[in-house]
Symmetry: C2
Subunit: 490 residues, 2 copies
């Protein structure tokens, strides 16, 4: 099984396609041979985690579901390819025990979790770059700088945010009084507020780290509230913060989990699906909605529709009646996230303690060992930002390859990535909102539109922008449909 | 719907039975009219949360399940009765966002969560009793004492336990090198180690708090490792620790959640059930097991059995072939938890900031406002310990009623409780192990026995003894069965 998504690039050889992926589904469609295709109880648009969980919960609750996606694989913005028996994560990948919806699925499907190898506190393995000057430090020093910076940044109230946002319970977090104040504040504003409170070293390390969180070097474009919300979800603890956003990954890769959920739904006998079938129109009626999808413009009918496409692609689908103004305004306002994630397969196992913090690098700002790798090799993941405009795959390989730190570059055998800069189904990478967006539009984004429900990590009340938020939203949509259809049947 | 479990007691009026409960199921059995009763894919013994989740996951995965329980209601050691439209929790009740399996169900069934009313920091509302002397303090002072004591207790390594038990991820927590050392240590040992490190006030407050955790005033009978494991699951943070074990409850009570899970399984059309039908024997064979249950000794057959009865009632069931020695030794070794939970309905809303810490009270050691209550009333929950031997319901009412603090007693209109001291299906209250038990027996308790799987919160690797651990175990058992039966079918 392979997917058209993602590329492998080797120095001098250019990009190669057709990466193996257990979440690429063959046959790509079972609608033709599905015994009773219509009317479905629900059509789920998008087979990312929100769509997969919605489809699984709906089918296992006894409802007939059609799952549609434009891609040839499951997982949306989270998927993995397997090379030499080791998963390489192309998008969202980090999990943790506080990602409660993910964790329940890990228990359900009995999947293993691994931490990145313990970084040994070797001298000179942490490269810190500041204002063009480079120095080598111990991991311990780097961690101390980052931790200290993060604690200062989140200490907005003398109580590390506990007064401003006391509880991570979703509902409560939403009603925090001064949410607006912190949402109108950008991360740049917050750093400016701290002024000299951060040392130059702290600023450099945390600036590169923030790119990993936001996908953007332009900190004035990123809401400070959003980052504070992550912090609150981690119980206002720096240990938990770092552990929950960038350490643990699935042993067999994200696509193994996506496949488990899909197989579970399929096993119900009530799942029809069609991959490679992008939706272009949804027309709602009093009792059912019609969804037009695929090259032939085929129409499917269902009593409910769950639309899980990312905020930045809401405009791709023509809704009739049209979407309300607030949803459209949110889609038009939201920044297109240029966050980049580049996997470098390197020769040499002694690179496993290597990290690099390079905030002014135009492309890769924050790099560290991530995930298992074949014996004698190391997988270094680099987080950064695509330059303005779209890059073709060859250009991504060339330009990001050239931006890898010069001490690492000779060891790089292969670069593996998904070119999110020109992905028509996500229109950018993960969700990280600009100032004011969440306060203004979150409620509107979560609202149903006739028989159409909207479920995406982009408007989760919990781990928004994470896999967990997607699963939460999928579960919410399914629960709403199960409840309303049961009432209709009474 | 009402249950035979639980009692309401009013001063001078004696105990009354038949409390309303949404998880009492009528009719109590659907086996007779179930279309294809045998052979089942699985029989689940016990309809507590482990059994309910197992039954729900199995039936929604397409398998035919028979769910058996001796009680007339669902929920096992967690259930609620509704009085004046407010739930009173009779057993396990506290939830939190880090209880990841519970939280997923809260999302799935769209249930609300509430915190106890914010305790206002009024003067003199916290009663602290030490060596027979009583003084009135502010909530703020009480909280400071408790927090400071707890941090000292868990600071076993100068890093608040982070070195000893660095990660709450289940698997890793199990392989901690020095688990044995801390498991052989009792809570009394740990307090002795601290010696004068705790002030007399800290010792008094934390001793009453520990009774709420362990259900026992005999701290030498309780493993320190177990408490340290809770702390680790809370990310080594005192805020998280208190928030996760005694603040949030379900708005409509635990029985509302149990009922949702049951209805979900029933909606699959694949759930047969028989309440009031205790199991007394399980005979295993090469392809199936036979379960004998109920007054008539009726036999049911299934390819797999999930046994979810608590450790202290494992001996109730005659297994053939007999259980391995380690499971039996664990059942024989485990202390019978005499933890008591007594709800007092009090007149007067100004009691909502009232707390009492009374470590040497023979019966109720730790009391505070808990849960919603009708206008003008307050529900005070008291945690303590049943005296040695069984008490009948009248004696529980009389003796616990008389042990309520004298300043509260005149306000008490009604006491509501489940008499766990003489409950044949749990043989005690929640699980809190003695020193050494977990290290010695956890792996053995989790092991399958032929076609019989064992799932109970008592041997969860996560929130052991909590509702979350029960759900985790139920999900684990269901996942194992789904996987093995699918393989058999290939």
């Amino acid at each position: 099984m392979s997917t058209r998504d993602g590329r492998s690039w080797m120095p001098g050889a250019g990009p190669e396609a057709d990466l193996p992926c257990v979440a690429a589904i063959t046959p790509s469609c079972n609608v033709e041979r599905h015994t009773s295709p219509e009317p479905f109880d629900a059509i789920v648009i998008g087979a990312g985690y929100a769509g997969l969980i919605a489809a699984r919960d709906l089918t296992t609750s006894g409802l007939k579901v059609l799952l549609l996606d434009g891609r040839d694989r499951l997982g949306g913005r989270a998927w993995s390819t397997d090379l030499d028996g080791h998963p390489f994560e192309m998008g969202g990948s980090y999990v943790s025990d506080v990602h409660r919806h993910v964790w329940r699925e890990i228990t359900r499907y009995q999947l293993g979790v691994k931490a990145g190898p313990e970084r040994k506190d070797e001298q000179n393995k942490a490269i810190l770059i500041r204002d063009g000057e480079e120095r080598h430090a111990s991991q311990d020093e780097r961690n101390r700088l980052l931790r200290s910076a993060v604690m200062k940044i989140f200490n907005v109230d003398g109580a590390y945010g506990k007064l401003v946002m006391p509880t991570p319970l979703d509902e409560a977090a939403l009603t925090v009084e001064n949410r607006t104040a912190y949402d109108d504040m950008s991360i740049a504003d917050r750093l400016a507020q701290l002024g000299d409170g951060l040392s130059a070293d702290e600023t450099a390390v945390v600036s590169s780290f923030v790119v990993m969180c936001t996908g953007s070097r332009a900190m004035d474009e990123c809401s400070f509230y959003e980052l504070l919300h992550w912090w609150c979800l981690c119980g206002h603890s720096p240990d938990a913060f770092f552990r929950n956003i960038g350490v643990y990954q699935l042993r067999r890769g994200q696509s193994s989990l996506a496949r488990c959920i899909f197989d579970d739904a399929l096993g119900s006998g009530r799942l029809a699906y069609a991959l490679g079938t992008p939706v272009d129109a949804v027309r709602d009626g009093p009792d059912a909605a019609t969804v037009r999808a695929g090259a032939g413009g085929r129409a499917f009918r269902a009593r409910r529709v769950v639309c899980t496409v990312p905020l930045n692609t809401l405009r791709r689908i023509a809704f009739d009646p049209p979407l309300p103004a607030d949803k459209l305004a949110a889609a038009d306002t939201n920044r297109r996230n240029g966050g980049a994630k580049i996997n470098s397969r390197c020769a040499g196992a002694d690179l496993r303690s290597w990290t690099c913090s390079d905030p002014d690098n135009g492309l890769i700002c924050y790099s560290y060992e991530s995930g298992s790798a074949a014996a004698g090799t190391t997988n270094i993941v680099g987080f950064g930002q695509y330059p303005e405009g779209e890059l073709d795959d060859a250009a991504v390989g060339e330009r990001f390859g050239a931006s890898i730190h010069e001490s690492l570059r000779p060891h790089v055998k292969q670069i593996v990535f998904h070119n999110w800069s020109r992905d028509e189904y996500s229109n950018g990478s993960w969700f990280f909102p600009g100032p004011g967006l969440v306060t203004r539009y979150l409620d509107g984004l979560r609202r149903d539109h006739g028989n159409v429900l909207f479920a995406s990590s982009d408007w989760s009340t919990g781990w928004r922008g994470f896999i967990d938020g997607a699963m939460q939203e999928g579960a919410r949509a399914a629960a709403g449909i199960v409840k309303s259809l049961r009432v209709e049947r009474l």
